[in-house]
């Protein structure tokens, strides 16, 4: 078991991180999706965080790269819906996992 003091990070658009910051989560705010991806890559390379919450609006343009970064057991990159423009990418991700594993999304019907 491994316990760290600042193990969780949130990366989202400007002004969206207050709740996370107040809960003791490290927050990075950016409106540039490429910058967000760069940050996640750096965090993964440096093993900085075990869980990374990422706004789905920032993840959408680089979804394949994010999926590749999320293939190892740690860090767990979790997409969170954007309150102003929800794209439901995380729900679609689950559907794709079903298709990858079973061949079809049997829960969709």
């Amino acid at each position: 078991m491994n316990t760290t003091a600042s193990p969780i990070a949130y990366i989202g658009p400007s002004g969206a991180g207050l709740g996370f910051a107040l809960s003791g989560i490290a927050v990075a705010e950016t409106d540039d999706a490429s910058h967000a991806l760069q940050l996640v890559k750096e965090w993964k390379a440096n093993n900085s965080y075990q869980i990374i919450f990422m706004d789905e609006g920032l993840a959408d343009p680089h979804l394949d790269a994010i999926r590749l970064l999320n293939e190892d057991s740690l860090p767990a990159i979790m997409l969170l819906p954007n309150p102003s423009k929800p794209t439901h990418t995380a729900a679609k991700n689950l559907q794709q996992l079903m298709i990858r594993a079973i061949g079809s999304d049997i829960f969709s019907t």
Partner: protein, 205 residues
């Protein structure tokens, strides 16, 4: 086909076929077990995701309203404060040969407190709803990560099962058949030779 049609090779191929059949059965069982676990986890993940999305949406809206109703300076001051310290315990669990992480979070209040006068009521509501949300978020992170890792393992196992079922086993069966045919042919040729020799000897007498 470059195979030595000998009895040794036939025995070796038979052993390989047996091993491949055993491996195929084991991998098939593993795939079925993984699928059962995966379906259970995806079902949990779907309901948890819906719950988290709803709570997060409400909580973030509260924070937005709180930020809008406070002075920008007050927001900046509050942002710098750390009323809670978070610590995460990561352990590993093995599920049918797949190592999956388990997260456990603990939230402790620190000495810093948010002032009542500088902040809005919405901020308190948002903070309370966020604290309720955090354990669910962690639970969802565990469940989604497990689903992701299981899906990857199912894909690998399914490919292995298919490779054994549709490539290796038919190949080995073909090799066995070929060696058997060659050995039978050799046996028939040997009988024919013996019969010809016998006929020649009888003709000479």
């Amino acid at each position: 086909m470059r195979i030595n049609p000998t009895r040794m090779e036939l025995l070796r191929t038979k052993k390989r076929t047996q091993l491949a059949k055993k491996g195929h059965k084991l991998l098939k069982d593993k795939r079925d077990g993984l699928m059962r676990e995966f379906l259970k986890i995806v079902r949990d993940a779907k309901s948890l995701r819906a719950q988290v999305d709803e709570l997060l949406h409400a909580s973030l809206k509260h924070f937005m309203v709180a930020q809008a109703s406070m002075l920008p300076e007050a927001v900046a001051i509050v942002r710098e404060m750390q009323p809670y310290a978070i610590s995460l315990a990561v352990s590993e669990k093995t599920m049918l040969g797949v190592t999956v992480p388990q997260f456990e979070v603990s939230l402790e209040t620190s000495d810093e407190h948010i002032g009542v006068w500088e902040t809005s009521r919405e901020l308190d509501i948002a903070l309370v709803s966020f604290q309720k949300l955090l354990p669910l978020l962690l639970q969802l992170a565990t469940v989604e990560k497990t689903a992701e890792l299981l899906a990857k393992e199912i894909e690998i196992t399914r490919r292995r099962v298919n490779a054994l079922e549709y490539v290796l086993l038919p190949q080995l069966q073909q090799v066995t058949k070929y060696i058997r045919m060659k050995l039978d042919e050799q046996e028939r040729a040997a009988i024919m030779t013996v019969m010809a020799v016998k006929r020649n000897i009888q003709a000479e007498r």
